[in-house]
């Protein structure tokens, strides 16, 4: 239900979180909600050969947020194919990003809701 980055006591931020900070090995104790802020498109693609249960075509982007002085990246779908590197986007909640029953991964092993990115006018 959330787009949460994780921060360790040394100020390193990652998305997603990890049991230990990938930069310094400390536990990541703080979270930063990214869902209410905008991000910049770092790169994007439109995937046309998609696996079972995934929309086709599937525009995707890696975006970069500023999170309390640190830069943190996230990956996600786009709401449009009309996009350019450097565009400003905002997260839009989607209840089910792909059909959990159609793919090889056990449906109960992870969540399937999340955020796609739409351009900010």
């Amino acid at each position: 239900m959330s787009l949460q980055a994780y921060r360790c006591p040394n100020g390193h931020v990652s998305y997603p979180g990890h049991p230990r900070c990938p930069d310094c090995g400390s536990p990541q104790e703080d979270t930063i909600d990214l869902s209410d802020r905008t991000a910049t498109v770092v790169t994007w693609t439109v995937s046309t050969a998609t696996p079972p249960g995934v929309r086709q075509p599937n525009p995707l982007a890696i975006v970069e947020f500023e999170a309390d002085g640190a830069e943190v990246r996230a990956i996600g779908g786009l709401t449009t194919e009309n996009i350019s590197t450097g565009d400003e986007v905002r997260p839009v909640f989607v209840e089910e990003l792909r059909d959990p029953a159609a793919g090889i991964r056990a449906a109960d092993s992870q969540d399937w809701d999340g955020y796609r990115f739409e351009p900010v006018d």
Binding site: P22, T43, W44, S47, R55
Partner: protein, 384 residues
Amino acid sequence: MDRVAVIGASMTQFGQREAWLRELLAEAGQACLEDAGIEADELDHLYVSNMASGEFEGQTGVMNALAHDLGGLGAYTQRIDQTSASGGAGAYAAWQSVASGASELTLLVGGEKMTHVSTGEATDVIASLTHPVEYKHGITLPAFAGLTARTYLESFDAPREALAKVAVKNHRHGVDNPHAQFRKEIDVETVMDSPIVADPLRLYDFCPITDGSAALLFCPEPMAREITDEYSVVTGIGGATDTHVVHERSNPTTMEGVVDSSQEAYDMAGRGPDEIDVAELHDMFTILEVLQSEDLGFFEKGQGWQAVENGITDREGRLPVNTSGGLKSKGHPLGASGVAQLYEIHQQLTGQAGPRQVAGDVGLACNVGGFGNCVTTTLLEAGA
């Protein structure tokens, strides 16, 4: 410590095969033993490199199956999975087994059976290596290639056609490989006019889905000298990992696993990138050959595409890359690919590459799993 030699090598026909994985592994394994003149009951260790036999065909325990089918009962067996880098990881394990003295004869067989499932299903099996935050968005390995290719082209002002030329080169090389899935020349227009798979990359930027198997036989160098004149030596080998979550990499156009594993391999061999005569790189996607050629130290970062344009990596060039045709034209049966790369280098160093033969004593293979998540780099040299 004795150096570790390769005294036998084989690969099956790659492509769409009727045989299932057990048969493919046995075919390559038997041919490799015959190449070296060794009987299966002499093997101390027997390893199978394979990513997903359970997922693809519901057959697990393939290392045990192969030992039984070849007549290698009694050997210590294991299956080695490092996704697309399983073959390179298998070479690392086989090298370790002999270098440590645990085994005097280790047979490594890599293989995968994939073509009986649809493209979408095969894509999903491979994409299952991704993190949940990636998988839920329907990310595929080709999608990572598209995302990275865009960054590369925009960062280094490289023309889109330069990536197409990787495919053109490797298809040209593959024409002379009797085991290759495709033996057909293509031109830049063929690539640029093919359907988009992951913008800006098109169908011909991607390797096919493939069935096949390849094998190598390892022993200490003194034993190799007694058995054959045609052997090669593992003089350097290194393995490394990069992030599981691809977007967490600070520099998306650098494959840190390639940098780290090749540094280990160069250090062990006492060699540098300028001493490599021939290389097999993991061109699952055209952009990957360019990135590896830079991260292995062959070319400056951002200039690998120019080397392709200038013909440096052609079979007739200063540093031939993918004389086998690469994954692009030879095909990519996941667990077999890293083994088949070393098969090609071994054939080159022992003068058995036929019409693909180039001059050289030092070869390198770089085998990549995921989108650079796991990497093994191996240096092979001609036996003295």
